[in-house]
Amino acid sequence: MHKTAIETTINGERVEFLCEPRQSMLEVLRDVLGLTGSKEGCLTGDCGACTILVDGRATCSCLMLGVEAAGHKLETVEGLAQGANLHPLQQQFLENASLQCGICTPGFLMSAKALLERNPHPSEAEIRYALAGNLCRCTGYDKIVRAVLEASKATTSKAA
């Protein structure tokens, strides 16, 4: 039951943590680092509630071991806002009532962020394709897609 020391970057800050090899990145975030914004929904990569960005790519943190984080740049929902300034995606989710229970919201925000950084003005079809790995059971997705469309009007090619 030995633990390894891992050094990585999370939300722009250097972070060090200890973890067992069998602990997923999701467990590390939630149980070791106290970053509970990423959620566990299925542990099989089928719901996207644990989505974080790894080197700018949307990734299911439940399907990554904590030890694999070394040397990479990770982003979680906790890093989206800049202090008190919400990211346009967060703002649009609120204004469009795009969340009901809110458990899927962090995952959607991260997937949408990755999308807008690569494709700043996606069509509805492109948004739906990019978010197909994030399940929501409350909203029927309508208001989520609308929020991303609205946010794409606010962002330029590299989001704030």
């Binding site: 039951m1 390894t4 067992e20 090899p21 069998r22 997923s24 542990l43 099989t44 990569g45 089928d46 996207g48 989505t51 790894v54 790519r57 949307a58 990734t59 299911c60 439940c62 399907l63 990554m64 071991l65 030890v67 694999e68 997937s111 990755a114 999308l115 394709y129 990019a130 197909a132 790995g133 994030n134």
Partner: protein
């Protein structure tokens, strides 16, 4: 999850040595989108997990008009999708890579891992078989090449021996007037494992309106992905018309041996083999007719 040891060797030699040393007690880790699920479920219980993502040969993707495509086994599907060369010369493979799962899965899952997992339903395998891909395998006894259609031996099992690693795929430059297509059937629009997958490549004689060559491969309808040799042969040299295509589709159905499971009945799957064979042949023909001269 049971306790595991984790290593991330930086060279192919080191990786082979580690895998050879631990044998059955070690398992390579690439994207993790299959292995981590299996570790949690207790389906595989290796003591050692060997991360292959730091090995340079496994991460490279290159194309030239002599050697064709060299696709490292650990290249994530999203990079395969984004490769302009793959898009231009191997659109069926690109389609297959883009269907492996959600964006999140594609960020991690690799074509090599998809094959080594040994699932008969792996999306990229029929596309690879259709393209005549060869797999470069390296191990303690040296290297060997394995045809993609020979790689899987049973559900979850491959030809890899203790200490062996899949290094890369080698796919020849397509002949003139060739193209490929991959279609799979799933109940939703994304996120599902293929109920049936069919990969087809064709080479055409445009002047005579005939098939010069064809390869049809089937996924999720047998214990391993299947190279449908009879169906493929049935196209070679024949006129491009619906009777020929129908015959090939029928033969493809005969070469499939699907089971009933929660993703589909055997009857439904056989029906779909016919439908998807017909459709992929049609798409490949369209693409081959439009393919740029090289």
């Amino acid at each position: 999850m049971h306790a595991i040891n984790y290593e991330a060797p930086k060279t192919l030699k080191d990786a082979i040595a580690l895998l050879a040393q631990h044998g059955e007690k070690a398992r390579p880790l690439c994207g993790g989108t299959d292995l981590i699920i299996q570790l949690r479920a207790g389906v595989r219980r290796p003591d050692h997990v060997v991360d292959v993502k730091k090995i340079p040969e496994l991460r490279e993707i290159s194309f030239d008009l002599q050697k064709g495509l060299r696709l490292g086994a650990a290249v994530p599907a999203i990079e395969v999708y984004e490769s302009a060369d793959v898009r231009r010369y191997f659109p069926g493979l690109q389609e297959a890579a883009h269907l492996i799962g959600s964006n999140q899965i594609q960020s991690r899952a690799s074509v090599g891992g998809n094959l080594c997992n040994g699932s008969p339903a792996a999306d990229t395998t029929p596309a690879l078989i259709a393209l005549g891909a060869k797999c470069r395998v390296a191990g303690p006894k040296g290297e060997r090449m394995v045809a993609a259609e020979d790689f899987c031996t049973a559900p979850g099992r491959t030809v890899l021996q203790a200490g062996e690693i899949l290094v890369e795929f080698q796919i020849p430059v397509p002949a003139r007037h060739s193209s490929d297509a991959y279609l799979r059937f799933i109940p939703r629009n994304e996120m599902d494992i293929a109920v049936v997958g069919v990969g087809t490549s064709v080479t055409l004689d445009l002047d005579d309106d005939r098939f010069v060559d064809a390869r049809i491969a089937l996924g999720a309808v047998g214990p391993t992905p299947i190279y449908a040799a009879k169906a493929s042969e049935a196209l070679k040299g024949k006129k491009i018309d619906s009777a020929t295509i129908e015959r090939a589709a029928k033969l493809a159905v005969e070469q499939s041996s699907p089971i009933d499971d929660m993703r589909g009945t055997a009857e439904f799957r056989r029906h779909l083999v016919g439908v998807l064979t017909r459709r992929t042949i049609g798409i490949a023909i369209e693409r081959a007719r439009l393919a740029e001269r090289r």
